[in-house]
């Protein structure tokens, strides 16, 4: 007595009810979804660079849709970072010694190797919460707060977004404002900009005073973001969004753990000094995204151009192409390309003979670089309506020489090594 015609009964009934009700075949656009009390999105992510940093991050996000269509969301993020990252100094043909951020210990870097500071070990906890409230038929307001805390860093933020639907919801205008206050309390204190990094001597009783004199206290910065957006439905399959964003950072933008090598005409390091960045940064970003519904899948392409008064211009192309393998599973290749120009104060090292600039950083992340990501995601819906997905990606950063000479011993050394990372992620939605 089993009904075995899988999937066919609903289809046959659809035809039979059309005959019964004297209607033309019904369009299969029934669209209903449950507002379960709560929906949960969880994910764990592993990010690992070859020989450098690795990051384990877990996210749990809970969303409640209320009967008036307002939405409450709370999100908790926990991550743990370990490993080494480039401290900004150039490699040398001889062993180099660097002070640890605490100032009380040192580490050595082998000849020819990019200097990496292996001290990094940090745990970050972030909580963010938001409330979206629809009102007056075509308006939505969202207010959010977020707090994040790590060993040497604390961040507090508030944000608001106002959205207005026009033309039967075919156009949506949005305007948002976000204010973020960050305070940093560097390990061992904030170094004096462009001062020498002192190497603690083996004679440990001399450390207390001499090792600390160039470092003191903590600092902070504020970030104000303005965001204006237009979302437009183009046709039954296509949707487009355009955003303009203005971001103004004011305060301590320097990385207290990054240094520069001071070299002589032969490229030999004479001194190591702490970096210094301007205390304001104003950025404009233009973001365009298009989504296109395929017969069984979705194409999603976005492009971002950003320009700022540090002279960093960047272009980002991000695309995801979802192919539905069945009603309940899909694969999604991901490709991302990123390219940035160098900040005007970026230099891979400081020449001993040249006057000391006011601002300098050898952090490759503000230098010229290209980066790409390729990845694949597979997702599946279970019988109970839960969904899971796995994602594997490869991310490579290729820092570029923005036109600097490599004198003497530096000529044969790699000042711009690529950074290669893998990203693995597992998602579960219920």
């Amino acid at each position: 007595m089993q009904l075995n015609h899988k999937g066919s009964i609903a289809t046959a009934l659809a035809g039979a009810t059309c005959a019964l009700l004297g209607q033309s075949p019904a369009h299969a656009d029934t669209d209903s979804s449950v507002l379960k009390d709560w929906k949960f999105d969880t994910a764990i992510l592993y990010y690992g660079e070859t020989d450098r940093v690795s990051l384990a991050e877990s996210v749990i996000s809970a969303t409640k849709t209320n009967n008036d269509d307002s939405i409450f969301n709370v999100k908790l993020v926990l991550d743990t970072l370990t490993g080494a990252s480039a401290n900004g100094a150039v490699p040398q043909p001889a062993v180099q010694t660097f002070s640890r951020p605490s100032g009380k210990d040192s580490y050595q870097v082998a000849a020819g190797e990019t200097p990496l500071d292996d001290t990094f070990r940090d745990t970050r906890v972030q909580v963010a919460s938001s409330w979206m409230q629809p009102f007056a038929e075509t308006w939505r307001g969202t207010a959010g707060i977020n707090v994040s805390r790590e060993y040497d860093y604390m961040s507090l933020g508030v944000n608001g977004l106002l959205e207005k639907d026009l033309f039967q919801r075919n156009t949506t205008l949005s305007a948002g404002l976000s204010y973020q206050f960050d305070s940093i309390d560097p390990v061992g204190g904030k170094p004096t900009p462009l001062s020498s990094m002192l190497i603690p001597s083996d004679n440990s009783d001399a450390d207390e005073d001499t090792g600390q004199y160039s470092k003191n206290g903590s600092d902070n910065k504020t970030t104000m973001d303005l965001l204006f957006g237009v979302t437009q439905v183009i046709n039954r399959r296509m949707l487009m969004q355009f955003n303009y964003g203005l971001s103004v950072v004011d305060g301590y933008t320097t990385d207290p753990y990054k240094v520069l090598s001071v070299i002589d005409a032969n490229g030999v390091t004479q001194d190591i000094i702490y970096e210094n960045r301007p205390d304001t940064r104003t950025r404009h970003s233009f973001f365009w995204q298009t989504k296109y519904a395929l017969d069984s899948g979705v194409a999603d392409v976005s492009y971002r151009f950003a320009t700022d008064d540090w002279d960093i211009n960047s272009h980002t192309i991000d695309s995801r192409l979802r192919f539905n393998l069945s009603d309940r599973s899909y694969i999604q290749p991901h490709f991302r390309y990123y390219q940035q120009s160098a900040a005007d104060f970026y230099q891979p090292f400081v020449n001993q003979s040249a006057p000391l600039p006011m601002y300098a950083s050898a952090d490759y992340r503000v230098g010229e670089m290209t980066a790409y990501t390729v990845g694949l995601k597979y997702g599946r819906e279970l019988d109970n309506g839960h969904e899971w997905a796995v994602r594997a990606e490869y991310y490579q950063q290729d820092p570029k020489n923005a036109g600097f000479d490599q004198p003497g011993v530096l000529a044969d050394l790699d000042l711009y090594p690529s950074v290669k990372a893998v990203i693995l992620q597992f998602n579960y939605h219920f």
Partner: protein
């Protein structure tokens, strides 16, 4: 010559834009747009994690949403 070709194609693109005065769809044509995967912020968890990675490894952040701060990684 090349410039002229570009100029012509831009003109054509503009006139096509003007031609479809009725951008958008009627409410009953939203069957495809209504799918979860067609939401602009679909896969929000992935986008959030990506933002965190690229925020800490590159000099540009935001665009899609607020650039923000909130992380001592850059």
């Amino acid at each position: 010559m090349k410039r002229k070709a570009l100029y012509v194609s831009v003109l054509i693109a503009l006139s096509q834009l003007g031609g479809c005065a009725s951008l958008g769809v009627q409410p009953w044509e939203r069957d495809l747009l209504a799918k979860d995967e067609m939401e602009l912020g679909a896969e929000g968890i992935d986008l959030g994690l990506d933002d965190h990675i690229y925020f800490s490894k590159e000099a540009t952040s935001g665009g899609r949403s607020f650039a923000g701060g909130g992380c001592g990684c850059n």
